[in-house]
Each structure stands twice: as structure tokens, then as C-alpha cells.
Symmetry: C2
Subunit: 268 residues, 2 copies
């Protein structure tokens, strides 16, 4: 395809995605293609910092007046909230942020789009969570956003597991309070009687990672979703495909979020 | 020209150029073209921060483990030295840094390439400063590096002006100490008896800026160089062209530096 060269120059609007690790993230590719298609002089770059340096890093990044937005990925979706001046309602409910934008006055607003992106992906694959039974593994930033969105979408029940028991319990409480039609409880990962299994942990990202659940084969009626963006087929998704299940990978959630985030950035 | 799309992804090596203002800098365009030509998955982005935030900004940027190098432009070439772990000899002599690289152990080394780039540009235009008489306006980071390089190249004499008198005087002392064959003195800007006039201040960058010298026409034998990168033809260069002088613009210095900096970054 014959396309014009896209060159960052001094006037380029800069956007970044911060996380640790970072090489696996899909957002720079997805957003740079979208910027080009929209004719914007903008670039999305990966930003990796270690947890011990995260606060200093955010202070430094926020001082860059030509940095217009920051996406946030693992493990910083919760800890970034302290750096946001205006936390928008969904993000406040969930206690996590995955997109920040610089406002005209230099203050930073933050919102979370994981849940919205996840739901778009499910629906694009003809899976409507309404009235369904869900097993969610991982109650961090992404897991919380997904649980909140599934509550909004009136899933019948959500069972939540996090290896930090307190984290799982708190998310169950939150869903119970905010989404009365959805029964939430915490338990060890199980697929018995479930319609939808979701991995919202990094398990499957590192070579040699096993499965986030203790079973290796599934009922073919189970829908299996994994938020891990790389590899494309995690061990969990491989096992699900072997069992004949429908699946959704991490890239689908990223794609589902892109439109909403571009709108939040004022670029779409 | 039919060239492949260059898309930043999660594994892209990030380089930045920090300054204030930043929209006028040419380095992102120059380096992104070079990265593409060299087949490197790397991007150079503009980074703008205000002086009050510079130290916090540098601390944040240095914590980014996928940021491999930082170019430094006005007004930070001097103040950045405090953030460099290993200041290389030319930069130590000049007291200014315009390129930092992250070493394998996470420490940062800094060097200055302004002088080298400036000389390459002059020589590419068949002007050899050896034995010549020079008027240099501006004794900041770039001015100091240019004076040092002209001393190395055995210019006969350099007259230096800075609106902060102390700054000009200190640079004269430094050149006198380090380059005994080159007579350095400070005085108001003059072109009388000079072979080479150099503007190493930001004057000419902002709309409505006048000239960095008090005269509007020159002897046609004078060579006039301006380090301001944008506009391409500053008021000074326009006046010089009107007088029939040979000229060199800020872009030429950037181009002259690119090879040396790519080598410093280990990419060339």
C-alpha cells in the first residue's frame, strides 16, 4: 500500500502508554495507525518504568506540556489514581484509571475504558453477558472495570478470584453495592456452571506461565476471554480452543477501547 | 516515494529531545528519517517542559527504562549537566550537554555535539575557520560548544558577546585557557574586520524578533551562521542574503550532528 511517510516532528502531539513490562502492549500500533488514518500529527509511544520509580516518573511525565494523554496498563492502573486531578465517575467507582488526558488548564483527568472495551469485544463476537454466569480471575484495575461493566450489562452472577483474597472480597462488595441485579461472590477459580471465563491477570504473558485456572479442558459452551495482549494465543486460550470454546483475546479488548479513548482524547 | 509505514509498537526504543519551546526543533524529523533508513525500531519525540519543572521532568524521564537517549536544546543544555552521571570530556570542558544516553547499567552519560555539527556544516560549505576572525553572539550551551570547536579548529580570534556579561566573560576565559592559539575577547556585537558572524542565541525564533546585531547590512565577504532552527530564514539570515553573504542555517548544524549522535547512541 502506498501511504505517506509519517514523521514525528517538533510539533507532534505526544501520547504514551505506561506499564511494566511494556514490549507486549498493542496500543502504540493500534493508536499510531488510527492517528495516521485520522490525519493527526500525533504519536503513541511505550513508556516503561519500575514500580519504585512510578511516582517520580508520573510527576515528570505530567510536566511535559506537549504530552497530551497517557494510557495506563499493568501494574499501574490503581496506583495512577493518586496522580489524577479529576477522576471521572466510572474510574472513581472502580478505583482505577487507564487513560489520562491533559486539560486546557494543565490539570489531568482520568477515566477507565477496560470494561467498555471488553463489552464491545464480547458483543462483536455475539456474546451478550445479560443473564449469564461469569467466572472472573483477577480483581485488579482491568478485572474491576470488567466486573463493573458486566454488572451494568446485567450478568446474572459473577464469581471473583484474586490471589490476594482481600482484593477479591473488596471487588465483590463493590459490585454488590453498585449493581444490585448481579449476584457477586468470591471463590477459587471454577468453570462449573459458568458461561464466561475471564482471565484478568498477567498469567500467560511470561514464557512458561501455566493456566490461571486449575483445569485444562472446558465444556465447549464456555466462552473464554483473556486480557493478556501478548502472546496472541495464551496457554488459556490454547486450551479453550482445544476444547472447542469460543474465545476473545487481549487485542480485541484494546481494539474495542480505541474509539472510546480517541473520543476521550478529543481526536475522534 | 513508496516507503513502508513506520509504526511505533510496544518494543520501540524511545528517544526524545527536550527543550522549551519545542515545536520548532528539527531533530525528530531528521532522526526519525535516519532510524527508518537504518531499519531501527526507534522513534524520536519532542519533549517540552517549563524551567520550573525541568528537574522533576528529568528525574521522571530518566526512570523510563525504554528511553535510551535524550537530546537537549535551549534552554536546558547547561542545567541538564546536573542530571548526567558521566559527563564526557568535551561536555565537561564546555559545561553543557546536548545528548544523553542510557548505559547498560542504567546510568546516563552526556556529551555535546553542537560544536562538531557546526564545524561539519561550515566545512560542507567550504568555509574553513582556521586563521579566521569570528564574532560569536551567545555564550550559552551551543555558543560555548561552537567557541570550543572553533578554538580546536584554530580560528585566529573569537569575539564573544552575551547579554549576560558574566557569561560572555567566563567563556572568553575558558577559551583562553584551553585554546592558546585562539585569541578570545568579549565585546558588543560587531562585524568590523570579521570573517564569520554566528548567532548562537534564540533571537530570530519568535515572530517580531529583530537582529542579534545592531547592523542590517554586511560586507559580502562575511559568512553568516545562525543556529535558530525555525524559521529557516531568520531576520539575520535574510539580511545576510540581501548583502550577498554566504550563510548557514540551524538545520545545517542539526544535520551535521546527526551522524555523530547516532554513533553516540550506538545506532550507526
Amino acid at each position: 500500500m502506498d501511504v505517506p511517510i509519517h514523521v514525528a516532528d517538533g510539533a507532534t502531539r505526544v501520547y504514551g502508554i505506561i506499564g511494566d513490562p511494556i514490549a507486549q502492549v498493542k496500543s502504540p500500533g493500534v493508536f499510531n495507525e488510527r492517528f495516521r488514518a485520522l490525519g493527526k500529527n500525533a504519536v503513541m509511544i511505550p513508556l516503561q518504568t519500575k514500580p519504585a520509580n512510578f511516582d517520580a516518573c508520573m510527576r515528570g511525565l505530567k510536566s511535559l506540556v506537549n504530552l497530551h494523554g497517557i494510557l495506563v496498563t499493568l501494574p499501574y492502573k490503581n496506583s495512577v489514581v493518586a496522580h489524577v486531578d479529576t477522576v471521572l465517575p466510572a474510574a472513581r467507582r472502580i478505583g482505577a484509571v487507564n487513560a489520562l488526558r491533559r486539560e486546557a488548564d494543565g490539570r489531568w483527568s482520568g477515566d477507565i475504558f477496560d470494561g467498555q472495551g471488553f463489552l464491545s469485544g464480547l458483543r462483536a463476537r455475539d456474546f451478550d453477558p445479560k443473564g449469564r454466569s461469569v467466572m472472573l480471575v483477577g480483581a485488579g484495575g482491568a478485572g474491576s472495570a470488567i466486573a463493573d461493566a458486566l454488572g451494568e450489562a446485567e450478568a446474572a452472577d459473577i464469581t471473583i478470584f484474586d490471589r490476594i483474597e482481600e482484593k477479591g472480597r473488596l471487588l465483590v462488595e463493590k459490585i454488590t453495592q453498585t449493581h444490585s441485579k448481579c449476584r457477586a461472590k468470591s471463590s477459587e477459580p471454577t468453570v462449573v456452571g459458568k458461561d464466561l471465563l475471564i482471565n484478568a491477570t498477567p498469567v500467560g504473558m511470561a514464557p512458561g506461565d501455566g493456566l490461571p485456572v486449575a483445569v485444562k479442558s472446558f465444556d465447549a459452551r464456555l466462552f473464554v476471554a483473556d486480557i493478556v495482549p501478548e502472546p496472541e494465543v495464551t496457554p488459556l486460550l490454547a486450551a479453550a480452543k482445544n476444547s472447542g470454546c469460543r474465545t476473545m483475546d487481549g487485542a480485541a479488548m484494546v481494539a474495542g477501547q480505541a474509539d472510546a479513548i480517541l473520543r476521550f482524547f478529543g481526536l475522534f
